[in-house]
């Protein structure tokens, strides 16, 4: 086996390992609230997650891939020694995947994005010194530690307060929920569609300007509104139901919204996080092809398919286990609360990723759940989780950076 084939196989295996870990690690977080509130059965959740993750990864993931890697370090610094970038990218993948594996085992809510950032920074420092790293971008990661939970909390708090005031404080909450639902569906569809078509579908050559994306989203939203308006009429209402009974039926109405947002979170997760597995591999493939470092690395479709496919594989084999235990444990979450938290988080992730801020879906969701709690929406929250997040924040980048440095050093010893 020649060196190139060896490196390519190594990179592919590292990418697969990383993709499996991404699927195993994060999917339970995205779908767990829907299973916990009984909006989805365990099987339905797995199915939706698999479809949404793959679609997100395969169709939208290509665009996100370039930004993360290119932003963190300047590939042109490796022009003289292109193979060092190959070693480095493999090291970063191995380090990040290893860390995700450990974190899944310990139950720490770490960010896949931050893991790969740490890996890239690690080998970058060894290979090119401090100057090769774009520290401004690394600063953005640190900034996101504060921004993601705070914004998630803020959005979810407002959304839940709104739902609470307009539906649950009424004498006939079910009627108000039925009236509100089509508008919520409109809102959700406009945001979802906009996320997909604006700067999203480059892979499908559908890169639309903001105006056109907005028009398309509004049309889709209007269609969804009409369908929801029609379907809502079929929900029965009996004036003799007491408040408790009505609350129960109202929650059933929110199930539809929650399923919709769960799909979206999985989609957003797939499109954002697949990059962490396939980005480095794409760079390796490009260098091995002609031995040169490129500013713009094309994303071959087979790599995206590989990344998306193994994220789904990871979620089905390992993520499913996590979700099965979690679904039974969360008994206190109702669909309206689940919707407020997930939709709040999804909106923040969307805004931040459009702004180029490497934000963690997991951390945002924690913030938005606390936001709903602060709005007196949840019977209890265990705030121990905040300690775990702080630990994972502080330890992720140093750990992956050091492992990546070590891997890179080993490469240099054996393959100068």
């Amino acid at each position: 086996m020649d060196l190139d084939t060896f490196l390519l196989s190594f990179a592919v295996i590292a990418c697969i390992y990383m993709a499996c870990n991404i699927g195993a690690n994060d999917v339970a977080n995205a779908m767990g609230t829907s299973v916990g509130s009984k909006s989805l059965t365990f099987r339905q959740a797995i199915l939706i997650a698999a479809v949404a993750e793959f679609v997100g990864a395969f169709f939208v993931g290509g665009e996100v891939s370039n930004t993360i890697r290119k932003g963190m370090l300047d590939p042109l610094m490796f022009e003289a020694v292109p193979y060092h970038l190959v070693y480095g990218m493999i090291s970063a993948l191995v380090a990040a995947a290893l860390w995700l594996h450990i974190a899944s085992y310990l139950g720490w809510p770490v960010s896949t994005t931050h893991s790969i950032v740490g890996g890239v920074v690690g080998f970058g420092v060894i290979a090119g010194g401090m100057d090769v790293i774009n520290w401004g971008k690394v600063g953005m990661v640190v900034l996101s530690w504060v921004v993601s939970p705070v914004m998630g909390g803020f959005f979810a708090f407002l959304l839940f307060k709104f739902i609470s005031k307009t539906v649950f404080s009424k004498r006939t909450p079910l009627i108000y929920a039925k009236n509100l639902l089509p508008y919520m569906v409109f809102f959700v569809f406009v945001i979802l569609t906009n996320a997909m078509v604006y700067k999203g579908l480059k892979n499908l050559h559908l890169d639309l300007s903001f105006d056109r994306a907005l028009i398309i989203s509004l049309i889709v939203g209007a269609l969804a509104f009409s369908v929801a308006k029609y379907l809502v009429r079929k929900i029965p209402y009996d004036p003799s139901w007491d408040l408790q009974e009505q609350f129960h039926k109202t929650e059933n109405v929110f199930k539809y919204l929650q399923i919709l947002t769960a799909f979206y979170v999985a989609f957003a997760h797939g499109s954002n996080d697949v990059a962490n597995a396939v980005g480095p591999l794409a760079a390796v493939v490009a260098i091995l092809k002609d031995g040169q470092v490129h500013m713009n690395v094309p994303m071959p479709t087979w790599i995206l398919g590989l990344g998306g496919g193994f994220i789904v594989f990871g979620l089905m084999v390992w993520g499913a286990k996590v979700m099965a235990t979690i679904g039974e444990k969360i008994t206190e979450l109702t669909p309206s609360r689940g919707f407020a938290a997930t939709f709040g988080a999804a909106t923040v992730v969307l805004i931040c990723s459009k702004m180029g801020l490497p934000i963690s879906t997991t951390h945002t969701l924690v913030g938005s759940v606390i936001g709903v709690g602060l709005a007196r929406g949840l019977p209890t929250l265990n705030l121990d989780i905040i300690k775990m997040i702080a630990i994972s924040w502080i330890s992720t980048i140093p750990f992956t950076a050091v492992i990546s440095m070590l891997c890179f050093k080993i490469f240099l010893i054996f393959l100068p």
Binding site: F168, K329, I370, G373, P379, N382, I389
Partner: protein, 223 residues
């Protein structure tokens, strides 16, 4: 395996409801207890009294369980102190009923004819009042769903006011019964007088403690 979803801890409001179920079961034994006493069926008095002691113990177990699981890192939609206060109020009702059961077993107590109608009135009223308190706790689930606001909160607010009135009435009935009791003068032995006086006070205590539930719930609503 842990994940961020472990932040959805087990709600302490559910065991609070289970605790109240035990308290309600205690309260439901008050009428049979006094009926048996009036009929001089002292075997039944003993049996019912033992049942009450057992139920109170079961309530205690739930209470201890809630207390040990209440951790510093737990975040509730109400002040944790107020929540514990509510639990204590519920537990005090069971305690008062238990005290009542124990008092009636000290000796085979006679029910004087003169106090019978007033006593029945007070017992019925106290039991009704205690049930109102239990019903308030059953509203907690809906109250959580409504985030302690809106129409549901108004409904609970009204119910707490009714409970306050019922407690006030219980005080009055307790006073009237005491008057009847002491009007008996020397017709009643000192021991019986002493015991009956204690019994009446304990009956009043059941209503008193129930009112505490209403007061605490009002604090929940005002936050």
């Amino acid at each position: 395996m842990r994940s961020i979803l472990s932040m959805f801890a087990k709600s302490p409001f559910k065991p609070l409801g289970s605790h109240m179920d035990k308290v309600r079961a205690c309260v439901e034994q008050i009428k049979p207890l006094f009926d048996a006493l009036e009929n001089k069926d002292y075997d039944s008095v003993k049996k019912i009294s033992e049942l009450i002691v057992k139920l109170e113990h079961e309530a205690d177990m739930i209470k201890d369980d809630i207390r040990t699981h209440m951790r510093q890192s737990m975040f509730l939609p109400v002040d944790k102190k107020d929540f514990m206060h509510l639990l204590s109020a519920q537990d005090d009702i069971a305690d008062a009923v238990e005290d009542l059961a124990v008092l009636l077993r000290i000796k085979n107590l006679d029910t004087p004819d003169e106090i019978k109608p007033r006593l029945k009135e007070l017992v019925d009223h106290v039991v009704d009042t205690a049930h109102m308190g239990c019903d308030l706790i059953s509203e907690l689930e809906a109250l959580l769903e409504a985030s302690f606001g809106g129409a549901e909160a108004e409904k609970v607010e009204k119910a707490t006011q009714k409970l306050g009135t019922a407690e006030w009435e219980a005080d009055r009935k307790q006073f009237e019964l005491a008057q009847k009791l002491f009007a008996l003068g020397n017709d009643l032995g000192a021991a019986d007088l002493l015991l009956w006086n204690e019994v009446i006070k304990k009956l009043g205590a059941v209503a008193d403690k129930t009112e505490q539930i209403g007061k605490t719930l009002r604090i929940f609503l005002s936050q």
